[in-house]
């Protein structure tokens, strides 16, 4: 055993009964991070943990090695977990030991020092090593790598390069001439390190532009001129044929016949996963160790792999962000905190400095499909180059070089597929409006970010400074973004900026409701499979019996949509509005809104409403934006009798449901009318009234494109156009968010409008997140996809959608009927403690 071993752990003898022996091979960022995640989840007592690493150190941040190489960073400063950390957490660290064999049948691993350790669970986190291409002359006559030739991977590599560079040519103390093969990220970092140490550095790259995997040729050209100004000499399109020299490197010969003299060579031609150990152990290795969504090897349920040595769904990642995602999933899985935890791959977005030049890249570097939008900006003199690739309204790629002021916004749009500003230019530049795209640094501290709750920038940054590092935590603490929600992107951007791009992703942000740790599809699966028909059963089965008040409404909405008449309707899961079928007001009274479909009323209806308003001394009678009449200030206990006296059905002006369909005059009287809008609006409201949905649905019909009823900015709108046609708009909004709807399709009859509107609304009901309005839904899914599903029936589900909507229509009951027989004791009892 090595001298740096922390705890006596020979042959795994020190085990505690009832604990699992967890052995981690690899003490790099992946291995250590996984152990950290396990400890964070309280997994410490469940495992006897042994970490075996072939570097004789604790665990360090490999990303900072370029700083060490450049001499900016002290090697001592980059350690993540010092040796004490292992001791404190009771982890046996075998540092400086290389595992040579895995015996999966005996469940044992063997070290090159003759030691062996038994395991119950084994994690391979062996990482990768520099790739040395088969270039002639890389090795000397002794078969070892020539003197002066280096890879760039470890602290030892850095130390050796630094001392070789300091030594000077043939020990003279003069200036070394360094060649770096490879113009990717690693090569540029290595070259930067050498330039910083005052050496003459030549970067040799086989491709025709720098960082060709991440950047397009124009960006590569801008980067080249920038790094040349920093003193680096760049040679493109050069393939190295031979390394010159006997036992010590003296130069390079290229395939085009040219040569370059040098007395130091750094090979940075990429990395190769360390998977030989796994292959010898009989595990499936393709490009790396093949794992499933739990990071488990496909051959052995007790063997896992994380980090650069793992191949997941065909992908091998060489960046740190995916590794963190993998470590979290593996820790969730091993500690059984979340048995459904699954890694589904990472979208790669990186922000880095290459030779001191800011660079951020994510997703595609160039457009790939004919409909992709591509924005490109180049200002070589300042070293600035930017591209953005947009597909179906979503950000699918971006490169920012030299100016990364928009990076927070773009990374967020990329990661979370958030809607993009219509004015695409603002994806690249701040256009001087305090929108989500503004440079967060330039916002003044007292700039009000959340207009609903009056939260300014200083409150948000202060909250981050106080230790809240996730968007959700900041939103909870400051209430920013918890009103209308229009500022949420801005809040998220500021949090990320305040965390210097390192805001923590709160996993619950992806849950359908915060109290049940499942995404919407996973939740729906579980609810169906386990037959969970009530909100309390969902908490019992899927949330460990912990009831969460803030999750009840969302669950109730989902269960009702899934189970229809079979839904076990627990009234306490409803918001007060849905318990008493009226909208609560700021004084604890309620508003009563009878239906006036299409805004067409009658003398009789007006008289009845007037009589009721007078009888109950209604403090305010108000026309609504939905062309109806609102009776405000009704005491809860008066609701049943008000409804009875009105003798009308509910107008549903309170729930997350179909609200209204308003209309212009249309052909009946309007001299411009092209279509019978009032009749259509009345039919639409008659059919869809009260239908529950993830967010409210406000509809309108316009009899001509003058759009007097504002149908183009409704969740669903129909607009009559010349020639007897109707355009159907979806995803419009004119509230906290303003958006013109997208044309779903153009049809000829009222019946078609009703059928397609219904099908769209059903698709929305089934696929939108809770409280996600149609404008967000349409932008997230994309109008092309929605059109394909709803109009062209590309998925063959149209019939199912139609019959599901029909079932909901058939199941409709007017809730105001509860006036006659309250559903719960004291359903309409007053709850206000203080009178007006």
């Amino acid at each position: 055993m090595s001298a740096t071993e922390v705890r006596d752990g020979d042959a795994g003898e020190v085990t505690t009964p009832g604990r699992q022996r967890l052995v981690v091979i690899g003490n790099g960022m992946a291995g250590a991070r996984t152990v950290e995640e396990i400890l964070q989840r309280g997994g410490g007592p469940s495992f006897d943990i042994t970490v075996i690493g072939d570097e004789p150190y604790g665990n360090y941040n490999r990303i900072l090695l370029s700083g060490v190489l450049a001499g900016f960073e002290d090697a001592k400063e980059i350690f993540l977990n010092p040796l004490e950390w292992y001791r404190e957490n009771d982890i046996a660290l075998h540092a400086g030991v290389r595992v040579t064999e895995i015996d999966r049948w005996a469940k044992k691993v063997f070290g090159d020092d003759g030691s062996s350790v038994e395991y119950d669970k084994l994690i391979l986190a062996t990482g990768s090593r520099p790739f040395f291409p088969p270039i002639e002359g890389l090795t000397g006559t002794d078969g070892l790598t020539k003197k002066g030739v280096f890879g760039f991977r470890t602290i030892d590599d850095c130390n050796r390069m630094a001392s070789h560079a300091a030594l000077g040519p043939s020990g003279t103390g003069g200036r070394r001439r360094v060649a770096v093969i490879g113009g990717g990220l690693l090569g540029l970092e290595a070259a930067h390190g050498m330039v910083s140490r005052g050496l003459e550095v030549h970067l040799v790259h086989q491709a025709s532009h720098l960082m060709n995997q991440q950047l397009d040729p124009s960006a590569g050209a801008v980067l080249k001129s920038t790094v040349e100004q920093l003193g680096l000499q760049v040679h493109l399109g050069k393939a190295t044929a031979e390394v010159r020299g006997g036992d010590e490197v003296t130069g390079l010969a290229f395939t085009d016949g040219t040569e370059l003299a040098c007395d130091m060579l750094i090979v940075a031609c990429g990395i190769r996963p360390n998977s030989e150990l796994a292959a010898r152990g009989g595990l499936t290795v393709e490009r790396a160790i093949v794992v499933d969504d739990q990071m488990r090897s496909v051959d052995d349920p007790d063997v896992y792999a994380v980090g650069e040595c793992a191949q997941h769904r065909g992908q091998v990642y060489g960046l740190v962000a995916p590794l963190w995602d993998q470590a979290k999933v593996l820790a969730d899985h091993l500690t059984k905190i979340d048995v459904h935890a699954a890694y589904r791959g990472s979208r790669l977005a990186t922000k880095l400095k290459v030779m001191g030049v800011d660079l951020a890249v994510m997703g595609l570097k160039e457009p790939e499909q004919p409909d992709d939008e591509f924005l490109q900006f180049s200002e070589p003199k300042r070293g600035v180059y930017k591209t953005v690739v947009v597909r179906d309204g979503l950000l699918v790629g971006a490169s920012l070089l030299g100016d990364v002021s928009k990076v927070s916004f773009l990374m967020q749009a990329f990661d979370r597929a958030t809607p993009l500003p219509e004015e695409r230019l603002s994806l690249m530049f701040d256009l001087g409006t305090p929108s989500a795209g503004v440079g967060f640094a330039e916002l003044s501290d007292d700039a009000q970010i959340c207009n609903c709750n009056g939260v300014d920038k200083a409150a948000i940054t202060g909250c981050v400074a106080a230790g809240k590092r996730s968007v959700k935590a900041v939103m909870e603490a400051t209430r920013a973004g918890s009103g209308c929600g229009a500022c949420r992107d801005l809040v998220a951007g500021i949090v990320d900026w305040a965390c210097e791009g390192e805001a923590e992703d709160d996993p619950s942000a992806h849950y359908y409701v915060p109290g049940v740790p499942l995404t919407k599809p996973a939740l729906i699966d579980a609810v169906r499979q386990q037959g969970l028909r009530s909100v309390s059963k969902v908490f019992d089965a899927l949330a460990g019996g912990v009831e969460d008040a803030g999750s009840k409404m969302g669950l109730a909405s989902l269960l009702r949509t899934l189970w229809g008449a079979e839904y076990d309707d627990e009234r306490d899961a409803r918001f007060i509005n849905d318990r008493v079928h009226a909208n609560i007001q700021n004084d604890g009274t309620f508003s009563v809104v009878p239906p006036i479909p299409g805004g067409v009323t009658s003398v009789q209806q007006l008289r009845t409403i007037a009589d009721v308003a007078e009888r109950y001394n209604v403090p305010m009678v108000k026309l609504t934006g939905g062309q109806r009449i609102d009776l405000l200030g009704i005491a809860k206990s008066d609701l049943p009798s008000v409804w009875r006296d009105l003798g009308m059905a509910s107008g549903h002006a309170y729930g997350k449901s179909f609200r209204t369909c308003k209309s212009c005059v249309g052909t009946e009287f309007c001299r411009f009318g092209l279509g019978d809008s009032t009749t259509l609006a009345v039919r639409i409201e008659g059919r869809f009234k009260g239908i529950e949905s993830p967010g409210k649905l406000k509809l309108a019909v316009a009899g001509c494109p003058r759009n007097c009823s504002e149908a183009m900015v409704k969740d669903v709108g129909a607009v009559a156009i010349e020639g007897g046609h109707w355009e159907i708009y979806v995803g419009g909004a004119a509230g906290a968010h303003v958006r013109k709807g997208d044309v779903l399709c153009t049809v000829d009859t009222h019946e078609e409008v009703i059928a397609l509107s219904g099908r769209f609304m059903q698709y929305y009901r089934g696929n939108a997140r809770y409280l996600e309005r149609t404008y967000g839904f349409v932008e997230r899914i994309g109008i092309d996809r929605i059109r394909a599903v709803v109009v062209a029936d590309s998925e063959g589900i149209a019939e199912r959608l139609d019959s599901a909507m029909q079932a909901s229509v058939d199941a409709y009951v007017d809730p105001w009927q509860e006036a006659a027989s309250p559903v719960t004791p004291g359903q309409f009892a007053p709850a206000t403690g203080t009178g007006p």
Binding site: G515, G550, I584, T832
Partner: protein
């Protein structure tokens, strides 16, 4: 409760008048000011808690709020409170709570001592920024 307490016990009727998972409002007569308004919550766990009825933020009717675990969310602006302790889970000001027990016959019995009553009323008046007499709704029937 200890013998030295000045708490007065009030019988509020059967627990069955509060649906499980919801809250209802009760008025306890007597004292100065003339009465105290309480929200009594019947949790899904079976526990019963009593607090002041009005949210300290803007007088929202807490009994109309959604309840989960021991948390209630005010229906007006989503301020959260712990029903067992009265602690504010968002916002600054917490709730006055009252000891409550259920008799073997299933009756709700709440204890309101003079200090608790005074606290609740003072809080309400300070909040309102005036000292007018607060009009109270009757007990549910």
């Amino acid at each position: 409760m200890t013998a030295v307490s000045l708490a007065a016990e009030h019988h509020l009727g059967p627990l069955s008048q509060i649906p499980v998972g919801e809250g209802r409002v009760f008025e306890v007569p007597g004292g100065t000011p003339q009465s105290v308004v309480l929200a009594v919550f019947h949790l899904r766990s079976g526990a019963v808690h009593a607090t002041q009825a009005a949210c300290p933020h803007r007088d929202g009717p807490l009994a109309d709020g959604l309840v989960g675990g021991t948390t209630v969310i005010c229906p007006l602006h989503a301020r959260k409170f712990d029903l067992a302790t009265g602690a504010a889970l968002s916002g600054e000001c917490g709730l006055v709570t009252y000891p409550v027990r259920i008799t073997e016959a299933g009756e709700i019995v709440v204890s309101v001592d003079d200090r608790g009553r005074a606290d609740a009323q003072t809080a309400a008046l300070v909040r309102r920024g005036d000292h007018r007499v607060v009009e109270l709704h009757g007990r549910p029937t």
